[in-house]
């Protein structure tokens, strides 16, 4: 029984690993191919099956004038927009979540839960519903096709995630912890950043990770709200597609786009499993 279980367990894990890793290997392999190696017959292994070339990668950093696509600038644009919007969302979202978790608000029929729901409801609508108001809003204040405009829009998208995760997290931090901090001579702000915040690091990491992921992978708003001045990575990657699909540079750009998320995932995984942070509060 237990042998069968072990066998099944490893069988499933192996299967799943192959399922997840294979596309990456496929993309890595493809990124070193040229037109000939992609289109003539199915090839897998460099040097044996086909002659590897760096052309697919070179295209990504060459300027358009020399026949390249230059994703370097969109890459840094994406990093800037994602990080700035995530950071602001986390800061504002955490403060909002703490207030929603600890204080009771009453305004007419509106209570804390309604306010929390209001935040989350921003994510319930299909993005296309928001696109027109966003477009008009940004064009009115003159931030269409600019990094700042994108940051503003992304904050609207990401902050609900931060609020949602952090409200849930703060609700699990015993209120007595804040009270003890107050009794021990902290004013409410000090109680927040000296006691509550250091004990909320796991929640902050999770919220931050979600913000970064959702910010980084957004194509829709980046596509609608930018034209020529500013471009983000997802839009640029899609724009690679022309009359001949350049599978090699598409693979290469897909790999560099996903790289930051993989790095973030590994760092966070290490950090979360290293300390028993999640068990700090019962």
């Amino acid at each position: 029984m237990s042998k069968l279980y072990t066998f099944l367990k490893y069988f499933f894990i192996s299967f799943w690993t192959i399922f997840v890793v294979a596309p990456f290997l496929w993309a890595v392999s493809t990124s070193f191919k040229d037109f000939q190696s992609v289109n003539s017959k199915v090839t897998y292994i460099p040097w044996l099956d086909f002659e590897p070339t760096l052309e697919g990668w070179r295209v990504l950093i060459k300027s358009p004038a020399k026949g390249g696509v230059d994703i370097v600038e969109p890459y840094f644009n994406s990093i800037f927009v994602t990080c700035t919007a995530s950071l602001i969302s986390i800061v504002l979202g955490t403060l909002a979540a703490y207030a929603l978790s600890r204080f009771t608000f009453k305004a007419g029929f509106v209570r804390n839960n309604d306010i929390t729901f209001f935040f989350i409801s921003q994510r319930i609508m299909p993005p296309i519903v928001l696109s027109i108001p966003f477009f008009i809003f940004l064009s009115t204040i003159g931030l269409l096709d600019s990094l700042l405009g994108l940051v503003v829009v992304y904050i609207v998208l990401l902050m609900p995630i931060a609020v949602w995760i952090m409200v849930d997290f703060f609700n699990r931090v015993p209120k007595e912890l804040d009270e003890t901090a107050l009794i021990d001579g902290c004013n409410p702000y000090q109680a927040f950043y000296k006691v509550v915040l250091p004990n909320s690091i796991p929640g902050l990491i999770v919220a931050g990770m979600f913000c970064i992921i959702f910010g980084w992978i957004d194509f829709f708003f980046a596509f609608i709200l930018t034209f020529t001045e500013v471009q983000l990575l997802p839009v640029k990657v899609v724009a690679l597609n022309s009359s001949i699909t350049p599978w090699w540079s598409l693979s290469a750009s897909a790999l560099v786009s996903v790289a930051p998320l993989i790095i973030v995932a590994f760092v966070v995984e290490r950090y979360l499993s290293k300390g028993n942070l999640s068990g700090a509060l019962k």
Partner: protein, 359 residues
């Protein structure tokens, strides 16, 4: 210079959490607040700490209006029944936290913390993480943090209730020592509990609280000997004092077809109906006694608690040895008539074996 509360009421919802509570706490004394769960003990302590603002009434300390001073400037210390420490700090940092908040000099902090660690017996645990400690040790850290602060008002909210039996006994003993050695004459210590035994052992001034109302105030001995009414008698005894509805005539005390000789302290009592009170420990097994039916027998440690029934009366007897009884078995018991209390039909104390009456 005292901590004085006057007519404090707090009613956040339909029910009173505190109802017209007044007190006058003097420095250097120990006060215990005795009451069942939800009687308002925690609310009262939080009000003194400043975490709650009462709807009505005033609190003053050292001639200052306490209600106008925010929590973080009140210089109080509080230990919760849950073990509340700062999980991101180690033991030493936990205890220094309030001292650093007050910006004391490093030498002073070190001295105070070492002293507090010594008092609670946690020397050598300075660098441990809070999560690595047992419940009892966590509570000691919380206590050390409160002691190191040298706060003028020290609040302990059922500090032992979440500990297991043995640890509770041990810490209770240590608390007595800590309170007698470790506190200055400047400190007011307020200790809340549901456990009458703790109240008697700590032997301070007692406030009996029920449904937010003060039922009785006085020294522990006085509460034990002369509970002012039936409610206090129930709250201040574990197991609660037995109540038997009966009457007194010129010759006997009568209840449930039992007649007892009138004890000396009842001699001057008016002949009428009473609620008689008798502690579980004043009921003994006796071959020549009265017959009762056993409803339940609990063995706890070296004692047996017998839940007995006769007619409409249910009583609990505390037998000081471990015995096996069968449920529904009949036993014969004898009451120590000299330890009978008489409460009037309005539940107020009329006569006690210790000579106290209630007006």
């Amino acid at each position: 210079m005292n901590l004085i509360g006057e007519k404090i009421s707090y009613k956040p919802d339909e029910q009173f959490h505190l109802n017209d509570v007044s007190f006058n706490f003097k420095k250097g004394n120990l006060y215990t607040i005795l009451g069942r769960t939800l009687s308002g003990k925690t609310t009262l302590l939080k009000t003194i700490a400043g975490l709650l603002n009462p709807d009505q009434g005033s609190i003053s300390f050292e001639e200052k209006d306490f209600i106008k001073i925010p929590v973080w400037e009140r210089n109080v210390a509080m230990v919760y029944q849950q073990f509340i420490n700062y999980p991101h700090l180690n033991v030493y940092e936990n205890i220094t936290f309030p001292l650093e908040q007050r910006k004391l000099s490093p030498e002073q902090i070190k001295k105070d913390v070492d002293e507090a660690l010594k008092t609670v017996g946690l020397v050598g645990f300075e660098n441990r993480k809070i999560q690595e400690l047992s419940g009892g040790q966590q509570q000691r850290v919380a206590l050390a943090r409160s002691l190191a602060k040298k706060a003028k008002i020290l609040l302990l909210d059922e500090p032992l209730v979440n500990l297991d039996y043995k640890l509770r006994e041990q810490l209770r003993e240590e608390f007595k020592r800590i309170f007698s050695e470790g506190l200055s004459q400047d400190t007011i210590l307020i200790y809340s509990t549901t456990d009458p035994q703790e109240v008697m052992e700590l032997n301070g001034e007692v406030i009996v609280l029920d449904e937010g109302k003060v039922l009785q105030k006085g020294p522990a001995k006085e509460i034990f000997e002369n509970p002012s009414n039936l409610k206090v008698a129930e709250i201040s005894n574990d197991p609660p004092m037995n109540v038997l509805k009966g009457s007194k005539n010129s010759k006997n005390l009568n209840f449930e077809n039992i007649s007892l000789e009138i004890p000396n302290h009842f001699k001057n009592l008016e002949d009428k109906d009473y609620n008689f009170g008798i502690r579980a420990s004043e009921i003994k097994l006796d071959e020549n006694g009265e017959e009762f039916e056993i409803e339940l027998a609990e063995i706890s440690g070296s004692e047996t608690l017998l839940h007995l029934k006769r007619g409409n009366s249910k009583i609990i007897a505390l037998i000081e040895e471990v015995m096996n009884f069968k449920i529904h078995e009949k036993v014969k018991i004898n009451f120590n008539a000299n330890k009978f209390y008489a409460f009037g039909e309005d539940e107020k104390l009329v006569s006690s074996p210790y000579g106290g009456t209630n007006g």
